[in-house]
Point group: C2
Chain length 500, copies 2
Amino acid sequence: MEEKFKTLSDKLKEIKNISSAVALLHWDQQVNMPPGGSQARAEQIATLETMAHELFVADEMGVLLDDLAGTDFAYDSDEASLVRVVRRDYDRERKLPAALVEEMSRTFALGHQIWVRARAEKDFARFQDILVKIVDLSIQKAEAYGYEDAIYDALLDEYEPGMKSVEVNRVFDALKVELVPLVRAISEQVDGVDDSCLHQNFDEQAQWDFGLEVLKTVGYDLARGRQDKSAHPFTTSFSINDVRVTTRIFQDWLSPGLFATMHEGGHALYEQNIAPALEGLPIADGTSLGVHESQSRLWENVLGRSRAFWQFYYPRLQTYFPAQLNEVGLETFYRAINKVTPSFIRVEADEVTYNLHIFLRFELEQALLEQRLNVSDLPEAWNAKMEEYLGLTPPDDALGVLQDVHWSGGAIGYFPTYTLGTILSLQFYHQALQEMPDLPEQFQRGEFANLLGWFREKIHRHGRKFTANELIERITGAKQVEVGPYLAYIKQKFGEIYQL
Amino acid sequence: MEEKFKTLSDKLKEIKNISSAVALLHWDQQVNMPPGGSQARAEQIATLETMAHELFVADEMGVLLDDLAGTDFAYDSDEASLVRVVRRDYDRERKLPAALVEEMSRTFALGHQIWVRARAEKDFARFQDILVKIVDLSIQKAEAYGYEDAIYDALLDEYEPGMKSVEVNRVFDALKVELVPLVRAISEQVDGVDDSCLHQNFDEQAQWDFGLEVLKTVGYDLARGRQDKSAHPFTTSFSINDVRVTTRIFQDWLSPGLFATMHEGGHALYEQNIAPALEGLPIADGTSLGVHESQSRLWENVLGRSRAFWQFYYPRLQTYFPAQLNEVGLETFYRAINKVTPSFIRVEADEVTYNLHIFLRFELEQALLEQRLNVSDLPEAWNAKMEEYLGLTPPDDALGVLQDVHWSGGAIGYFPTYTLGTILSLQFYHQALQEMPDLPEQFQRGEFANLLGWFREKIHRHGRKFTANELIERITGAKQVEVGPYLAYIKQKFGEIYQL
């Protein structure tokens, strides 16, 4: 049995080596690749993804998993967890025909390149044809996976295993009831917060250096990672010991670079703190995108936009930008980075309006997959929903339907995980606070090791061993995603800032 | 038959996609990878190389090649050339056991990481154990390939197909007779050239910008390439449309960055100008390292250290470094970049002493492979040969036996191609000059398109379709590497500079 387990591990590690090469091909595409490389890159990714898929879905793998299913490893053991999680992946991936995998891979890689140009030219028409193909392939993929209630569930399951759209709707509805009136109430006193201190001339290199200082001091290990620039910030890993983040920096606006760095840093802390014993195995990864996002949102918002965090870091930030910030008090800065304003771009949205951007995308994705909406009508539908949720009409498609990278790479069903993660960040943090009530005082002193250690112990080290719901129950006792802590946090924080 | 040809092409393209991913894994390792990533990277490279090897040596490939051997495509056609070249590769690679390929791959990738640290610490002892393993694996590889006269030939053939060490000896002996006395004669009047103008404070960014300007104006297409920094400059390609170079820059010395950029640019021009019809096939590559080096040496030395070239570029260079160079005349600069001084580091050596560094390495490699020399005695043997050829004893191993990356990555048998390429650069250029006698006048005007066009037509576009000897004969009518043009060039150029 031990020998069979080694055979399984070796095979899985080989496949993971291929997937890691694919991850590097993607990282390079977004960080370094000259434009001429796009066609060949799409072919390279397609070949490797197809190969990884074929090796994984081989009958032999199924036989090994069958043989190992009956072993008496404890549920929590690495061994039992590996077999359990890989079985789920296997049953799922077996449903996809190899030809579909290859076509998706090539189309999604090309889609990314076309999207980059279309966005630069603010021209949805350039992107439309490939998006039609992407949606069509996504529908084929969903049909191949199969589903009970909604076609959306088949794709959502890839990013948030076990989650259904009916459950997303329950959560989102509970949010909408509170957030929509809250945004309205805040909008009525929008003059209450002045964020002009963030819109000055901030040297790009100094922004970069400060961001790296923060990453280092909160615990990101640069001997096992690095930061680069890309059009759309992201985190990727090729090993527990090579976890990379990207950011983007605007010279005339401090927030985007700063919070993208903190956000991706949160993802990277998760990946760097997976138990070394899981290295090279497919369970050395985040368990779901929602749980992953709970970590990025924690560092970006719960800490990164908190008063306690900046009580420590603001004096440091002022040393980087004395001319810009020495006359700006901490309280002014704190209010500025928490200003609530309906805006066009999701990734730059504040904590309150952010989720409205997600509701919009979730609804449009459902309509596309259920074929109630044509791709050609998408820009109009986007703009209509922007008006409905945020009271804004994008002046062009780059500020509207073309803003996000996801669809171009075939990631339909992904967006809800941002809001699920946002809610989870508070559900988890609420528990951490109960166990360590002096956390905010620690942050004021620049001490983050206890918080990081708590998350390492409760979440990071397990990789994919436990599902999101298992983690929620183990950590908080709750059976599912609960919006309570998040809504309490939002109402308390923004109620104070806007004196509601 | 056409269908079989398509089957062959498709299979070969798939394998090339894997090899291109391996090339990216290597590029990233040298350009970007954080130190923590090294172990996983070695595993990733090993998995992919083994997989490419196994797909290539499959029996099925042999059957396809047999079936296609009898077709009546013309010798020069892409089709016949593909079958011919791939047959040679196939017969060769079939001789390597898969286990050896995997072990070499992993060992060589790790060897690189260990070498980086050993060189930084100037400590050969740190590198010794892995080098013993690398030499042992290289011997195993040579034995698997088989050879007639010398074990060295089995490895040399990988880099310079068809070349034998007896032939290398013929060429090297012809050089030694002339070069050793020439270096001695020059050494006696070493005060004749003052290169202090190159040893000033040169802003790194300005060096970088000037290097890129040169690359662009000589014809390197940055939409299909990019330049980065690495410890050891190199060129790699993931497609005809994604050909990348690296360089390294010293703030206190202008030459290394400048000439590394030109050298790698020469390699890159070759790769970027391969015929688009060959894209994705294994013949879309340089035909041998010697021919590749003929292109890099051409741009680095024959042009890059010529008076005509700098008659155009020196005024441009002065605009980048007015404080350092405005008082330095063109003739002083020309003599400075051509100063001959025996020195420790091969890649920084002048045109005359450079080959002595190669003779040394070639002799040590032969001794290691024939087991006449133990790895533990290598530093001493290195230093003895440095004394013999260059009259110098390296003060430490970083300036001695640890200076080059090649052995750490398993590249034994590679060094002679540098000198072969140097000789070829003149053999080819001599012919180009006969056909276009006004080339130097064109260079003075900053016009390089005719020269590049000539090489594109005669060499670049063919990729690997013709062997080095076939190219030599097609281009010059000679049957082999001829040292005449090179020696005439060296004697004329340095005779003038040193008034011999």
